[in-house]
């Protein structure tokens, strides 16, 4: 457990390097959320802004590790490949989770201060959870690419692979609708939206487990 803590701490130190940027961006977002909340009483946009900007920053920790050829050094210490991969996924998850949590809190407070009230909290939280799941999907598609090709070489694949997956999913959905149009008629979208947190929870768990297993297998067979 201490090893994982140390590995997480190591990734966290990377953020210290651009704390100026983080603080500046946070203030900029707070300003944008304040302006936005004059017209809207939902806190989704600000939360998603925080999630996308800060939550996806965890990729830079891979970049710093790669530049220092750190994996080689870590594996010469009493640290296993499993612990390295696990700590990365924990870092990616915690980073996204904390980003959206902070985003929700900040947006919520600002909306209350500016508008005096917030709209449907349940719906806003559902939208945030859907956004969180989308980011999880992107990150979980990116990490195995980084383990396979590295941050720089894997940049293109990190974009192509999730895009291809979404494209194929779109084609599959379209074909399904063409062949069985009654499915579309029978879907109660409001009900789907209502149960979306459960769907998102299952998807998040699936994304992280599948992605972790793929990354671990790649890393296990990799000569350092």
């Amino acid at each position: 457990m201490n090893t994982i803590k140390g590995l997480l701490l190591k990734d966290l130190y990377v953020f210290r390097n651009f704390k100026g940027n983080i603080i500046f961006s946070a203030f900029m977002f707070i300003f944008l959320i304040t302006i936005g909340s004059i017209r809207m009483d939902m806190f989704t946009v600000g939360s998603i802004l925080f999630l996308i900007f800060f939550g996806m920053n965890s990729i830079s920790s891979f970049s710093y590790d790669e530049n220092a050829d750190l994996d080689k050094y870590l594996l010469s210490l009493p640290i296993t490949k499993k612990e390295i991969v696990l700590s990365k996924y924990l870092f990616v998850f915690l980073n996204s989770f904390i980003s959206i949590l902070v985003g929700i809190l900040v947006s919520f407070i600002i909306t209350i201060l500016v508008k005096g009230k917030v709209g449907n909290i349940g719906d806003s939280l559902r939208i945030c959870f859907i956004a969180f799941t989308s980011v999880s999907f992107l990150m979980c598609a990116n990490v195995p690419c980084i383990y396979k090709w590295g941050v720089e070489k894997g940049r293109m694949q990190s974009v192509i692979i999730p895009a291809l997956f979404i494209f194929l999913l779109g084609i599959f959905g379209s074909l399904l609708l063409l062949l069985f149009p009654q499915i579309y008629l029978n879907i109660d979208l409001l009900y789907v939206f209502k149960i979306s947190p459960y769907i998102c929870l299952i998807l998040n768990i699936l994304f992280y487990i599948i992605s972790y297993l793929i990354s671990y297998k790649i890393f296990l067979n990799k000569s350092i």
């Binding site: 090893t3 190591k10 710093y64 050094y73 010469s76 640290i79």
Partner: protein
């Protein structure tokens, strides 16, 4: 004799390079220096020992156990310096101390900070602002501050000034003085090994071309410097290798007392490791 490290018939084949039948036996309390040209196979050997890469044949034992099956506690008894790999340069020595405390159960924080002070390493600057010598000091310190029994060092004196090289040689000598600890180090600064190594292994093109005790080099090997006409009088079977450099011939002889008996008028001197390496690799 008890060994902290045994490499038995280590073989690794790449498309354009073959590491062949590498054998190293590192007893407790001893230091072995692994030397050779760049690309000779030193790093491949080190990486195989540290399980950073797979190998095709052979066996590697650390503390008498297959290196691939070491427990976490056993791996904690190994200290490592890698020439080209370390923590991110944005970290400072305090950050590194916090991380190492989490990685090693017996991390000696007191020793770490005492040595930081002794080496005059600034504790608030990131590594990227350090000279290469300073960085190497931190790497060496990280390798020994958890009180290991085996040190595996890849070019540990790279980029160091002569004063710190002297300090580090002292540090390594103290490390093995208890008779239990051992060091395997690669270096291309062969002069460091003159004062440090008990045994020297030369690797060339993936093969061990010489594995000899340091004392034996001093007592049995000799170098003779000759002008062209004197060189022509020496029989080929009386020397191991010869090399012409700036109108002079350098010949490597072994055993030197036999050569001296045959050619009493010629002066035979002790070779240093650099000359030995040069003659073995480049000599005819």
């Amino acid at each position: 004799m008890e060994y902290n490290l045994e490499v038995i018939n280590l073989t690794k084949n790449y498309q354009d390079f073959h590491l062949q039948q590498i054998n190293i036996k590192l007893p407790k309390g001893k230091i072995i220096g692994l030397i050779g040209e760049n690309g000779s196979g030193k790093t491949t050997t080190i990486k195989s020992i540290l399980n950073l890469m797979t190998y095709d044949k052979g066996n590697i034992k650390i503390f008498g156990k297959d290196s691939r099956n070491l427990t976490k506690q056993e791996r904690e008894k190994i200290g490592v310096v890698l020439d080209d790999s370390f923590f991110s340069p944005i970290l400072n020595v305090n950050d590194i101390n916090k991380l190492m405390k989490d990685f090693y159960s017996n991390w000696n924080e007191k020793f770490y900070y005492e040595t930081i002070k002794k080496f005059k390493i600034p504790d608030n600057k990131p590594l990227k602002e350090f000279s290469s010598g300073m960085k190497m000091k931190i790497k060496v310190l990280c390798a020994i501050a958890h009180e290991p029994k085996l040190l595996i060092l890849d070019e540990p004196t790279n980029g160091l000034d002569p004063i710190f090289r002297y300090e580090i040689v002292e540090l390594f000598n103290n490390f093995v003085s208890n008779g239990e600890n051992s060091i395997l180090m690669t270096t291309h600064i062969t002069s460091d090994l003159e004062h440090l190594a008990d045994e020297v292994i030369f690797i060339n093109d993936g093969n061990i071309i010489l594995d000899v005790l340091k004392d034996k080099i001093d007592s049995e090997y000799g170098i003779v410097e000759l002008l062209e006409n004197n060189f022509n009088n020496i029989k080929k079977e009386d020397y191991l290798k010869c090399l012409k450099y700036k109108n002079e011939w350098y010949i490597l002889v072994n055993p030197k007392y036999e050569f001296q008996k045959k050619y009493p008028k010629l002066k035979v001197r002790k070779p240093n490791l650099e000359e030995l390496m040069l003659l073995l690799v480049k000599g005819e």
